[in-house]
Amino acid sequence: MQLTNRSKLVVNKELSWSEKLYLPAIFSGMMITIKHLFRKKATIQYPEQKREFSKVYRGKHILKRDEQGRENCTACGLCAVSCPAEAITMVSAERKKGEEHLYREEKYASSYEINMLRCIFCGLCEEACPKDAIYLTEELMPANYDRSNFIYGKDKLVQPLGTSAHPKTYKPYKK
């Protein structure tokens, strides 16, 4: 069965005298490499230049706030249910009087944790969320020395106050 057209028949023939000197083959090889000397380099010089992400890249999560800076999440738990890696846990709490400027609805997540070592960045939490609360941004997951630091709580997930990114966008928020 032939899968590609690139297969070559191997012939074990004796090399001719000039082929045994290897020089013509070496010369043609050197012509190939010298062409590469002038070719455009593939390197992206990382800290200064960055590769552009695909439009549907799924990176670190963000818990969104609305236009008035209130958290969208109501701790309904649909993201945790939809998560195939079971990475999301949360504790819900009731909004007290005077906290209306913090949380959009009466119920909110007092604690919201994603275990980034379990997360497979599939984006199902984002699809499940009925409140536009959780999104996957273009931000890369930073490395860490300690496994316990990979459990991201609300301190790392909630969109910082004063940043204004449209909630329905994949772009990371800009500070």
């Binding site: 045994k20 000197l21 290897y22 020089l23 070496i26 090889g29 050197m30 190939i32 490499t33 010298i34 590469h36 000397l37 070719r39 455009k40 380099k41 593939a42 390197t43 010089q45």
Partner: protein
């Protein structure tokens, strides 16, 4: 022409410094060339274009722990890299860097020692150079080092013959073994490469083998022998081995340029009357040739893979030596015929 000791000391110091600097920056050039041939950029973080990279590497070598293995023969273990480095630096003594400069009414030749057996001296010293590898490989008391050393010595013996034979044809044409005389006879554009292309080819291939460069880098082939003869070496001893390789490349390039590409000679050099300007331009021409050959060494290294051991021996004994012998016969015949027509 009187010779003052101070001139020679001055020249020796300069040649020493220049060979070291060129070897130092060859390590950077090697990485840059390899990167560019592979569509990468190479080191560019330490200084502009990575120009401080060799300095950083050198400092790193000095600060690394210098380990002498317990089972190694200590004296030989230290002697190995020393011999490699000393012989690599010794060869530059007979290379004519330029014609001469006029200073204070004296003519100062730009050659440390114009001995009448210059090319023989180069051969002798280069042959001692393999002892550095052999002794280092033996003294390490490690099977990989020993295998690397064995390969180095057998390769050296095989290719030294063809190299010597290829030189004989040039010596026959020139009638002198002095490198200074060989270069002087290539005045202007009368370069030996036009008379001895086959000789150059053989010499060039053998020079690759003598420098242990790809495709002849079997003594240190990482894939089979871990590191070859320098497996057990660390810190500056390893640095000396690696460094001597680059000095050897520099010296080989210089000898190739001097023997076959006219050394400091360049076309239309008779139009310049001032000897100092001529010497300066000649030096530039010589170094341009040398740098090209250093690039050539790297270009070849990053193009072709290494030979299998039997291929190496077959090429040396069955192809290069007969070719070199035939070259001598043809050169002699042509010389005889052309002299009888004069």
């Amino acid at each position: 022409m009187e010779i003052l000791l101070i001139d020679k000391v001055f020249l020796i110091v300069i040649v020493f410094a220049v060979s070291l600097v060129i070897a130092l920056y060859s390590t950077l050039a090697e990485r840059k060339v390899s990167a560019f041939l592979q569509d990468r950029l190479g080191p560019n973080r330490a200084g502009i274009f990575g120009l401080l990279q060799p300095v950083a590497d050198g400092v790193k070598f000095f600060f690394k722990e210098d380990i002498i293995p317990n089972h190694a023969d200590k004296a030989l273990y230290i002697l190995g890299p020393s011999i490699s480095m000393i012989t690599a630096l010794m060869t530059s003594a007979v290379i004519p860097w330029g014609s001469y400069i006029e200073f204070d009414g004296r003519q100062i030749a730009l050659q440390v020692a114009d001995i009448n057996i210059g090319i023989l001296y180069v051969f002798a010293v280069v042959s001692i150079g393999v002892y550095g590898i052999m002794i280092g490989g033996w003294g390490s008391n490690n099977k990989f080092s020993l295998l690397g050393a064995l390969r180095a010595s057998s390769q050296m013996i095989s290719y030294e013959i063809a190299m010597g034979l290829s030189i004989i044809a040039v010596v026959m044409m020139t009638g002198s073994m002095s490198l200074g005389e060989i270069v002087r006879q290539q005045h202007g554009f009368n370069w030996n490469i036009f008379y001895q292309p086959i000789g150059f080819l053989i010499f060039c291939i053998c020079a690759f083998a003598e420098c242990n460069r790809t495709p002849f880098d079997l003594p240190e082939c990482e894939a089979e022998l871990v590191g070859g003869y320098h497996t057990e070496y660390s810190s500056m001893k390893l640095g000396l081995y690696l460094f001597s390789e680059y000095i050897n490349i520099f010296i080989s390039s210089a000898i190739m340029s001097a023997m076959f590409f006219g050394g400091y000679n360049f076309p239309f050099m008779d139009l310049i009357s001032s000897p100092n300007l001529l010497a300066a331009l000649g030096l530039i021409a010589f170094f341009a040739k040398i740098l090209f050959f250093i690039f050539f060494f790297m270009w070849v290294r990053w193009t072709i893979p290494r030979f299998r051991y039997d291929q190496l021996m077959t090429l040396g004994w069955k192809y290069l030596i007969p070719l070199a012998l035939a070259n001598i016969v043809v050169t002699g015949t042509v010389m005889l015929i052309s002299s009888s027509f004069k």
